[in-house]
């Protein structure tokens, strides 16, 4: 406590400002991905920065401040949610790029892959991300949105690299499934209904 940035030297406070404050928008995005609710994300961001400020002495100089903040944020979120933590059963077995391949082949066959070159998918994917269940959502956000490596994400989430990989690939597959629905709703899958497809728009 004595060495926290608040009660520490001016130099410590200045370092905190320089290294930690610029990452606020990134931590907010991550907090939002965890809570899904802007009001909760705001509380979580406040909590994360407060904890970071009070435990600045635990930061290893030269290490990645953003990763350190993501870890604090994730831990604070888990503490907040401990009572109501959602249990998500993770599927057994491995999943690799072949699942994406099969899904793309489906999109090619019904023409819905045309949506990729014609529509900005970011808003649709952002909405799909908000619906993605944990633990897939935070993993996809860390790796695909926040550019963390598998190893970095495994440190932040406190799980083995293999688990990050598996959650990431499953999360991506679920997002791609949503993309197919989106393409159908947008009228990009004309052949699907002729095909005896499972549903139509």
């Amino acid at each position: 406590m004595d060495d926290a940035a608040g009660s520490g030297s001016a130099e410590a406070r200045s370092e905190f400002e320089k290294q930690v404050l610029p990452w606020m928008p990134d931590v907010y995005r991550f907090a939002l991905s965890l809570t899904r609710e802007p009001a909760e994300a705001e509380d979580l961001l406040q909590e994360t920065y407060l904890r970071a400020f009070r435990s600045w002495q635990t930061f290893q100089p030269g290490s990645d401040a953003r990763r350190w903040l993501f870890t604090i944020c994730r831990n604070a979120f888990l503490r907040q949610r401990e009572r109501q933590r959602r249990e998500v059963v993770e599927e057994e077995g491995d999943l690799d790029g072949s699942a994406s391949f099969l899904l793309h082949a489906r999109m090619q066959s019904d023409g819905s892959d045309r949506i990729l070159s014609r529509v900005d998918l970011a808003p649709a994917l952002n909405a799909a991300l908000a619906e993605l269940p944990e633990p897939f959502r935070s993993t996809v956000i860390l790796v695909d949105v926040e550019d963390q490596s598998y190893e970095e994400a495994s440190e932040i989430l406190g799980v083995p690299i293999g688990t990050v990989r598996s959650r990431l690939f499953r999360g991506r597959r679920q997002l791609q499934e949503k993309l197919i629905e989106y393409a159908k709703d947008a009228g990009f899958a004309a052949a699907a209904t002729r095909d005896g497809g499972s549903n139509d728009a």
Binding site: Y49, S98, L125
Partner: protein
């Protein structure tokens, strides 16, 4: 691995596509997958699909901008704790 340019087939390249795009393979495997994708017309559309999907996902960064009032609120809270700026 004496030969970094070892040939791989389509199913192997596709199975390793995510790891390849995430640059999580060893340099030898990166080379092997790249070399296959460069010359396989069948796999190329899948590479393009995966790349576009990841690019769009990455652009989600811009979809959730932090409100300026929130930044000010956090700074104000930190100042109460002793932050000087």
């Amino acid at each position: 691995m004496p030969d970094g340019r070892k040939e791989i087939d389509c199913s192997t390249a596709i199975a390793e596509l995510w790891d390849y795009l995430d640059q999580e393979l060893t340099p030898e495997r990166m080379n092997a997958v790249r070399s296959h994708l460069d010359r396989c017309a069948g796999c190329h559309p899948h590479l393009e699909f995966a790349q576009r999907f990841l690019d769009a996902l990455h652009r989600c960064r811009g979809e959730n901008a932090m409100p300026e009032e929130l930044r000010l609120a956090v700074l104000s809270r930190l100042r109460k704790e002793g932050l000087t700026s």
